[in-house]
């Protein structure tokens, strides 16, 4: 539904050139909820804006639906107002001089084929009821709450029934509680309409809970693409592991390959899952998520690693207890149930299941 090939975007500024997007390939299928996730400045917005036609890439091709909307080679660049898209902006961009009805009616009034007044009225009403804003038609746009503005922006993006919906951090201006509620509502809505969605966020929780596919970006490139579970369970490199959730990293060298490999680290030898193509002797980092580490005194089973360490710090986080355990020279962070009886200075044995330890190329 959306295909991006070898996309490059450069900005010319006074202080030289910024290469914001460096060769991105993406394929979003019909009806998919596809998320671009990455830290600030990695080029997510730029990619999204290129799909919308608001930014003009230097190289590459973009296909939306069946239309080739941009191609450097074929010198094609369809302006945004001719692309079959709906878009929600980070600031919502609600026009303050129009009321709710006029904001939503705007895309219909600008359509090539004239839409009759009665049609406009019924389609606006339908769009507003989708986002539960019925009855607010005559409200001037500035008199809406943040959440209502966000829903109004969504109604405006959907009213034309575009084939593709583009969303740029649509939840970042909402307060924490509302954001959580809206996450599920939003996903449910676009799934119900079966609309293809390209979503941009820097919030990993949003990306993991809402998407069918997540593409993690860094410095203008896609570093990993996969389902939320794949991304979370098996990050392909240290950047992804670090960005998605909290992780422990243990540097080491591969000793033995196989279904479960063995990695020699300063804290001891660890059995772990090796990334594809890693050979013996290679330098790697072993990634372990804090919640995968258990405290256990019992004997080690076949597929477990046991490390001994001393608890250096205990922090109460509300729903968890976070501990920092010194293993050799390394601090390992673990998450425990809040009622766990641990204390600073205690010597503990850490149990690391081998299938949760991922060795990545360093």
């Amino acid at each position: 539904m959306i295909r991006i090939e070898q996309l490059h975007v450069r900005y010319r500024t006074e202080r030289g050139e910024v290469h914001a997007v460096r060769g991105i390939d993406l394929n979003v299928r019909q009806g998919q909820f596809f998320t671009l996730l990455g830290p600030s400045g990695c080029g997510k917005t730029t990619t999204l804006r290129s799909v919308a036609g608001l930014e003009r890439p230097q190289e590459g091709e973009i296909i939306v639906g069946d239309d080739l909307v941009f191609s450097q080679q074929r010198k094609i660049s369809i302006p945004p107002y001719k692309r079959d898209i709906g878009m929600v902006f980070q600031s919502y961009a609600i026009w303050p001089h129009m009321n709710v009805f006029e904001n939503v009616a705007f895309p219909l009034r600008e359509m090539k084929k004239r839409v009759s007044q009665t049609d406009i009225r019924s389609r606006v009403r339908k769009a507003l009821s989708l986002v539960q804003l019925e009855g607010l038609e005559d409200r001037p746009a500035p008199f809406l709450s943040g959440g209502q503005q966000q829903r109004l922006a969504l109604a405006r993006a959907l009213v034309k029934e575009p084939r593709v919906l583009l969303l740029d951090e649509p939840l970042s201006n909402l307060d924490a509680k509302l954001r959580e509620e809206t996450r599920f509502e939003l996903r449910e809505l676009v799934k119900r309409l079966a609309i293809t969605t390209l979503y941009v966020t820097h919030d990993q929780l949003e990306a993991l809970t809402m998407s069918d596919v997540v593409a993690v970006m860094d410095q203008g490139r896609v570093v990993q693409e996969g389902t939320p579970l794949e991304i979370y369970r098996a990050p392909r490199d240290r950047f992804v592991a670090n960005f998605i959730g909290l992780s422990n990293f243990l540097e080491g060298r591969v000793q033995k390959t196989g279904q479960l490999g063995e990695v020699e680290t300063p804290s001891g030898t660890l059995k772990c899952v090796l990334a594809d193509g890693i050979t013996a002797g290679e330098a790697v980092v072993v990634v372990i998520r804090p919640e995968d580490v258990n405290l256990n005194a019992g004997p080690a089973s076949q597929n477990e690693n046991i490390l001994e360490g001393k608890i250096e710090a205990v922090v109460f986080m509300g729903d968890t207890l976070e501990c920092q355990v010194a293993v050799g020279t390394k601090l390992i962070r673990i998450k425990l149930h809040p009622s766990s009886p641990v204390a600073r200075g205690e010597i503990v044995r850490l149990r690391l299941p081998a299938e949760s330890c991922h060795a990545l190329r360093a």
């Binding site: 919308a52 036609g53 608001l54 302006p79 945004p80 107002y81 001719k82 692309r83 898209i85 709906g86 878009m87 902006f89 980070q90 600031s91 919502y92 961009a93 026009w95 303050p96 001089h97 705007f106 895309p107 600008e110 359509m111 090539k112 922006a153 405006r156 993006a157 034309k160 583009l166």
Partner: protein, 573 residues
């Protein structure tokens, strides 16, 4: 793609229109200064030389001209600033009573056009007919000393009065935002109040004060009406009036090339001052005296000086607005000019107003003025809006240059724009523009373009970029976006600029005088000027009274409509 091409063509059209409107007249101004032909019509590239420059700069009169200009500009700017600083300080930092009156009254003085202000003072202080001088003679006999307004002193005094409101409006926010903690820190360090004022307050204000001063000097340098009314009859010339005199004197054969040669230096000084001003402003902004905290500075207790201070403030208002208005009102009911006395009451008449209604030239001038002012305001608003859209909102290659081109006329004195367009229109004789009100409209549009684009740029920057982009992704092409998003969002600015231009175009006489060719393009300002020249003083008084009332109402309307920012800048002549 067609839409894209149209957008491209549109941007280029705007660029080259402004490029031509700004640079073409200037090119002819420069070329003309080297032309040895007597008349612009005879201009040819074969007859070029430095004669004009040699003639102008070997004339000892030119040095007197320099001296006069320096005294006039320096004097009026200093006088105006001192008054404005005092007034702003009194209302902001002391407990003087009656502040509201001063706050409201000072900006109102902008409603008195410079030309009428000068004329009113002539009626009061002319050596022969001035009411005050006649009174002095009645009191002290025929040998009593007279106060002569036809002098450099008179010009300095009246231009100074005229500079006060703009400077006041620039200074009030400065005084208000100055952190009193800075002064208090000096006080607890042991500085006496006078030392604090000298070492802290004035030092902090200095960069901004210098900027305001340069701005006022630019205004004084550019103004034509006041040295025109007060200096020309006495043969005291400054730059603007000398150029006018060279071109428009009936007694001599005009030497156009020499006017251009003189205008070049004038232009150079004006451009240099503008450059200096821009530099000063950026420095003043860097100077962090504004802390943005919502405090109210402690007010100085004036004690027994309260009433004298208020009297001084009221005296300014009396001189700047009440007196000129009363003088005009009085003179407009006179059958012929005479000093006030009990006998006059018996002969007061409405004849002058009746005459205005019957006199054909007034009707046509009024029609011309309304047409000219409306076209000027509309074209300025439309052109500034389009230019600012390209400058702020597009990726057009020439947008920076376009912005500078639009700002350039700000530095060019009206009289020089007038003379430059005079040459241009004579050269473009296939366009029947010369001698029409459209010529005046075009000249004014160019001079107001700088103000228009500055206001629009500021307003456009306030509009979030995503509001525009949301329209594109909703399917609206650029011109529809302009119409449905930008125009309604910018409406207050568009209306504000429109009114500002009307208020200015109606009162300025300098530029139109250079393009004036007879009854066909006679506007109100020129009519007043000509009638004054020919001595129909009571009739001038009648028109002037009506004009002042209209301008006062417009100024009040602007304030009540809430176009605060624009009102602040109703400077002009």
């Amino acid at each position: 793609m067609g839409e894209n091409l149209r957008l491209h063509l549109g941007q280029h059209a705007i660029f080259f229109l402004v490029f031509f409107l700004v640079l073409a007249p200037l090119s002819f101004l420069i070329l003309g200064s080297f032309s040895t032909a007597r008349l612009p019509g005879d201009f040819s590239l074969d007859a070029m030389g430095l004669v004009n420059y040699l003639k102008v700069y070997s004339d000892p009169g030119t040095y007197e001209l320099f001296t006069n200009t320096v005294i006039y500009v320096g004097g009026s700017a200093s006088f105006g600033i001192i008054m404005a600083v005092s007034l702003a300080w009194l209302v902001e930092r002391t407990n003087m009573p009656g502040k509201t009156l001063v706050y409201a009254g000072v900006p109102m003085t902008l409603a008195v056009p410079g030309m009428l202000q000068a004329m009113a003072w002539v009626l009061l202080l002319s050596p022969r007919i001035g009411f005050i001088n006649q009174l002095l003679k009645d009191l002290f006999g025929p040998d009593a000393p007279v106060i002569d307004v036809y002098s450099l002193g008179g010009m300095v005094f009246i231009e100074g009065l005229r500079l006060v409101p703009t400077a006041f409006l620039m200074l009030v926010p400065l005084m208000r935002s100055m952190d009193p903690a800075l002064e208090e820190a000096a006080a607890v360090s042991g500085a006496r109040p006078v030392a604090t004022l000298r070492k802290v307050t004035l030092r902090l204000l200095a960069p901004a004060l210098v900027a305001v001063m340069i701005y006022q000097a630019m205004t004084a340098l550019e103004v034509f009406e006041i040295p025109g009314i007060l200096g020309l009859p006495a043969g005291i010339y400054v730059f603007s009036t000398k150029i006018y005199a060279i071109v428009r004197t009936a007694t001599f054969m005009p030497v156009y090339g020499q006017a251009n040669a003189l205008a070049m230096v004038y232009l150079f000084i004006a451009v240099a001052t503008t450059f200096l001003y821009t530099r000063m402003i950026s420095r003043a902004e860097r100077y962090a005296i504004i802390t943005g905290k919502g405090y109210r500075p402690r007010l100085l207790d004036l004690g027994k000086w309260k009433i004298p201070a208020l009297a001084c403030a009221l005296l300014f208002l009396f001189f700047a607005i009440v007196l000129p208005f009363l003088v005009f009102l009085y003179a407009s009911f006179l059958p012929y000019l005479q000093a006030p006395s009990w006998n006059v009451l018996k002969v007061l008449t409405l004849k002058n107003y009746r005459l205005l209604a019957e006199y054909g030239e007034v009707g046509s001038a009024l029609k011309n003025t309304v047409l000219m002012v409306a076209t000027t305001a509309t074209s300025t608003v439309v052109l500034s809006f389009l230019v600012s859209l390209v400058v702020i909102r597009s990726k057009f290659w020439g947008r920076k240059l376009l912005d500078q081109l639009a700002f350039m006329p700000h530095a060019i004195p009206g009289i020089v724009i007038g003379i430059a367009f005079f040459w241009l229109f004579l050269q473009l004789d296939f366009l029947p523009l010369y001698g029409t009100i459209w010529a005046i409209s075009i000249g004014f549009t160019i001079s107001f373009l700088a103000y228009g684009t500055r206001s629009m740029n500021a307003a456009l920057l306030q509009i979030h970029k995503e509001l525009e982009e949301a329209a594109y992704v909703s399917g609206a092409p650029p011109w529809r976006t302009m119409w449905r998003i930008f125009v309604p969002l910018m409406m207050p600015t568009l209306v504000g600029v429109w009114i500002w231009v009307v208020l200015h175009a109606v009162r300025i006489a300098g530029m139109p005088l250079m393009l004036y060719e007879g009854p066909d393009n006679q506007v109100l300002a020129i009519l007043i000027w000509n009638m004054w020249d020919e001595g129909y003083i009571p009739a001038v008084a009648a028109i002037g009274t009506l004009l002042m009332i209209v301008l006062l109402l417009l100024t009040l309307a602007v304030r009540f409509l809430g176009f605060r920012r624009q009102t602040m800048q109703i400077g002009g002549t």
